[in-house]
């Protein structure tokens, strides 16, 4: 997804998912995968979506600001 620029071990995904689930930002449910295995599906909840927008916004502002600083430097 990040074209291999960010290398994070795949296992780190799960603690993060569980934390998000606890905070109610994502919802999880158990379903069946295409090869008929029990699998856990995650989706953004309503508050999660809002939070995502807020954070994305903040991130955009921050990176823009940093870029501006670096650009003018």
């Amino acid at each position: 997804l990040s074209s291999d620029v960010l290398r994070i071990q795949q296992g780190s995904l799960y603690p993060a998912l569980h934390r998000l689930e606890r905070r109610g930002l994502i919802k999880a449910h158990w379903g069946t995968s295409e090869n008929n295995r029990r699998a856990k599906y995650y989706e953004l909840s309503k508050t999660g979506r809002q939070q995502l927008e807020v954070e994305t916004d903040a991130w955009a502002k921050l990176t823009a600001a940093v870029a501006q600083v670096l650009g003018t430097a």
Binding site: Q9, Q10, G11, S12, P15, H18, K40
Partner: protein, 444 residues
Amino acid sequence: LDVLSDLIFRFRSLFRRSAVENELDDELQFHLEQQVEKHVRSGLTREEAMRQTRLEFGGLGHVKEDCRESRGITFFETTARDIRYALRQLLRTPAFTVTVLLTLALGIGANAAIFTLVNAVLLRKLPVTDPTSLVRLGDNNDCCVGSGNRQDGDFAMFSTDTYEQLKKNVPEFEELSAMQAGFWGRPVIARRDGTEARARSVAAEFVSGNYFRTFGLQPRAGRLLMDADDAQGAPVTAVMSYEAWQHNYAGDASVVGSTFWVNTKPVTIVGIAPEGFYGDRLSVTPAEFYLPIESMPVLANSPYVHDPEQDWLYIVGRIKPGVAIAPLQEKVTVLLRQALATDETFSTEQGKTLLAKVHVVLTPGGAGIQAMQEWYGSKLHLLMGIAGLVLLIACANVANLLLVRGMGRRAEISMRAALGAMRGRIIRQLLKASAWRSVPRAKV
């Protein structure tokens, strides 16, 4: 809503632990299998695919632990685990546990016993209505008629005459009552009329007619003394203490109204004092009978009751709400000097200088006449201090024992540290072990 989902999540993690664990296993397993399949499809051997997957995924145990931590209940879980561990440790070394428990039980037991005593003697108030508004005139425990005057003029004992004058002239007191200062030194002989029982020597206290009213007490049976009882020539009446009534007459209701022979004179028992009232002061021999002051010349043949020069009464009063103590103390002192001025003792040259020094200090009367409290107070405090030291020594002993045991556990602990136990975790575990040791202790 967020808080709620958070709570539900945590509760589920806490109380349905195995289900949550299984789900975690399933979830991670699924991920790993998917990855392996992917690698196999891209041409790796199954073995190589599994290796690659594990590499990409990171340590499985580590991930699981992180997931558990993200549930937000690690604290409870580790606590529960540490507690179980600590209990196992204690059970494994019963001799040590028992020694520690006994040592501390001894120390704490001694302290508790002493404190109970101190509490009973020093801290308890009289079982009376609104003890805070009770004020005693005087701050020393001079006792007994004929003991002479103190050179510093600090008065706590008064003559009947002075009492009457103060009662009349200090309206700041709602009630002002007087009681015999040294009743325990002058027992009476009492016998119930119409019985074969032997006459007994018992403590009796002569009190003013408003004595019980001042303390705001209600009779257990019959009635308490009234002003009319405390009048010259009135038929002699008495109130019996609840304790005496229970012990000697088994709470017999017919005691009220019956006649007793007190020092060979007939006395009618008009009522029983309330339960728990052991008199106005702590005493080894609490009064069994409360008799009116005016009956004293008749019963005890005491000439000093109406002698204005003889001080023999303590005075306790109930002040009206809002009365300030300091001006009241001034006023009482002035009145006392006036009352004493006519005395022969204070008419001499020497007496006059003493009269100038005469004063009364008002003290809280809610705990009664504090004579015994003060006599035993310092000794009891010393005792309490000693008991405290015993506890301290007990603690030091236990600390030593723990230290010795800690040395023995060094190998174990360094082993655990080497195996990757976190420092904080080990310390927490040890702390919890000692915390657990204190639980049965606290019960003791």
